[in-house]
Symmetry: C2
Subunit: 330 residues, 2 copies
């Protein structure tokens, strides 16, 4: 097979994060589930924003964060996500390109405002996300060029894409195009609440063998499998996908690939600031390892290093030199 | 005199900061003077942004940062600065209001884009600022309501306002209105390059007795006075203003008020991250102290505490609880 144009091509909701500190009491008053992501409309976005503390704006979006991390680790990376031609769209495009990622979806002026996610960070560094999808909602079949998909070693999709009524079909087409070209597909379950909304779709994708590398955290693998016990949940899913990766916060992560199992401890950190992006960057490290042909346990190590970097500052994209931090892995 | 509506009313350029890491080599390639602020047009803003690393967007503007700090210290604070009705303008308004500041200038849809400042932070934590003034340039006489000015104990203006050709007159009117109402005026020299552009204006304001509290750093007091020696520079200026405050980075700060002199050491910090806002927050602490009727040395202490907080994170507005940090001063 020819060398692909991209090591990894990521597809997701292109979202600018608006990050503010919040108290636990504020989350309670607003009836928000700590640690989760919910979708909100423009009106609710304006209402909640009006109550929030001063914010920091940084580009985010789960797969966008992953793309930035993969590029930071030296891989050829592309990204597809819909933004508007507005100021937040300009910021999004700038940031992902400046991170070394090729931005493959043209901004449009007919898609409403660029998506934003109001992220409330509580003193325990947990993030509670409120997403106004806006332009991201308009990611259409036309934005997915099958020849581009076929020219990526791995295509990576976020479960959140299934929240876009018109994008599901495009996403499955992308997965089919990748597999038809002999490439790999990878998928993150995104969020336990997202699984609540789309469990049957996700189970079907798995059963139909459309996912080669599946990412989940503990809550997600339990929600998907319906098993409360972690080992039971892993056992229920791992036989259905070639590679399963499950992150466990401070307990590290595991991977099951064929008959092989690997495990990594969490990387020790100085100060936990904001957990936003931990899962996204774990996936980035793991996929960069895969793209480089590393062994399973080395892929996990890269994931753990990338995740540890991102939770030590606000924002969900790497700020330190990931390549330098991960030098001991290569 | 009746209790004023505002303890301090700040007037300045309303600017959203776009903060990115940069190398010393990048500054050299771009011919930028480290630590300074330069004005750029829309075209240069686009060109430079295209070369910058991924950014973080946070509300800034010198006097806006000061206003946020004063409010964080529990004072009634107002702010006047012109933004557009665009997304960055919404962010600016939200952030300053969420900081507890009353935002007194209506956003307008006929003023171009909201101002932004491309801030390059080098590994030594110095910031080099490239400001596209945009809408801020449109701050007009009409935005300055003299009855509001007269209802503030202290009005605070930034020297950067003198970069707005049409605003100078409005600013002097604001100063006159404050003094006519028996209130105090305060002024920051902003930047040595800004003094280069407006030295004669600034000297005239001082000579005409329009400034009660003057803020400067070492480079600025030297540029204003034309004296290379620090003590000579202070001596040349201090007799012309009722209160002179000069910040000296890690050497602390001094104040001269009438015959009295006071001095404060810099507050010890754990890690210097980004010096943006150090002077703005020093002014905030000092003015909050004045508004509370504290002694000169206590005002300096509040300034030092507020400045120390802001240089330990990216962004030029307080993130920690300044009131709690300064509890030992009151």
């Amino acid at each position: 097979m020819t060398q692909p144009r991209f090591d990894v091509l990521c597809i997701g909701n292109a979202i600018v994060d608006v990050i503010a500190d919040a108290t636990d009491e504020f989350l309670e008053e607003q009836g928000l589930d700590k640690g989760s992501m919910r979708l909100i409309d423009a009106e609710e976005a304006e209402r909640l924003y009006g109550l929030m503390n001063p914010g920091r704006e940084v580009s985010g979006g789960s797969a966008g964060n992953t793309a930035a991390g993969i590029a930071a680790l030296g891989c050829k990376t592309g990204y597809i996500g819909q933004v508007s031609t507005d100021q937040l769209g300009d910021i999004y495009r700038h940031d992902i390109e400046a991170a070394g990622v090729e931005f493959l979806a043209e901004p449009r002026d007919d898609v409403g405002a660029t998506a934003r996610c109001l992220i409330l960070v509580t003193p325990d560094a947990q993030r509670t996300m409120n997403t106004f999808l806006g332009a991201a909602n308009q990611l259409k079949l036309g934005a997915i060029d099958e020849s581009v998909i076929a020219d990526a070693g791995i295509v990576y999709l976020e479960g959140y894409l299934w929240d876009l009524p018109e994008a599901k079909e495009a996403m499955e087409k992308a997965m089919d195009a990748a597999r038809a070209a002999g490439r790999q597909t990878s998928f993150t379950l995104s969020d336990a609440f997202c699984i609540g909304r789309h469990r049957n779709d996700f189970l079907r994708l798995i059963d139909e063998g459309k996912i080669d590398i599946l990412f989940a955290n503990e809550a997600e693998i339990q929600a998907l499998s319906g098993e409360d016990d972690f080992d039971d949940a892993v056992a229920a899913v791992c036989s259905k996908v070639p590679t399963l990766v499950v992150t466990r916060s401070e307990k590290g992560a595991i991977a099951v690939e064929g008959g092989a199992r690997a495990r990594v401890a969490a990387v020790k950190i100085d100060a936990l600031v904001d957990t936003t992006g931990a899962g996204d960057l774990f996936a980035a490290g793991f996929l960069a390892g895969k793209a480089k042909g590393l062994e399973l346990d080395q892929c996990l190590k890269l994931g753990a290093i990338a995740a540890a970097e991102v939770i030590q500052h606000y924002g969900a994209r790497p700020e330190q030199d990931l390549k330098a931090l991960s030098a001991r892995v290569y």
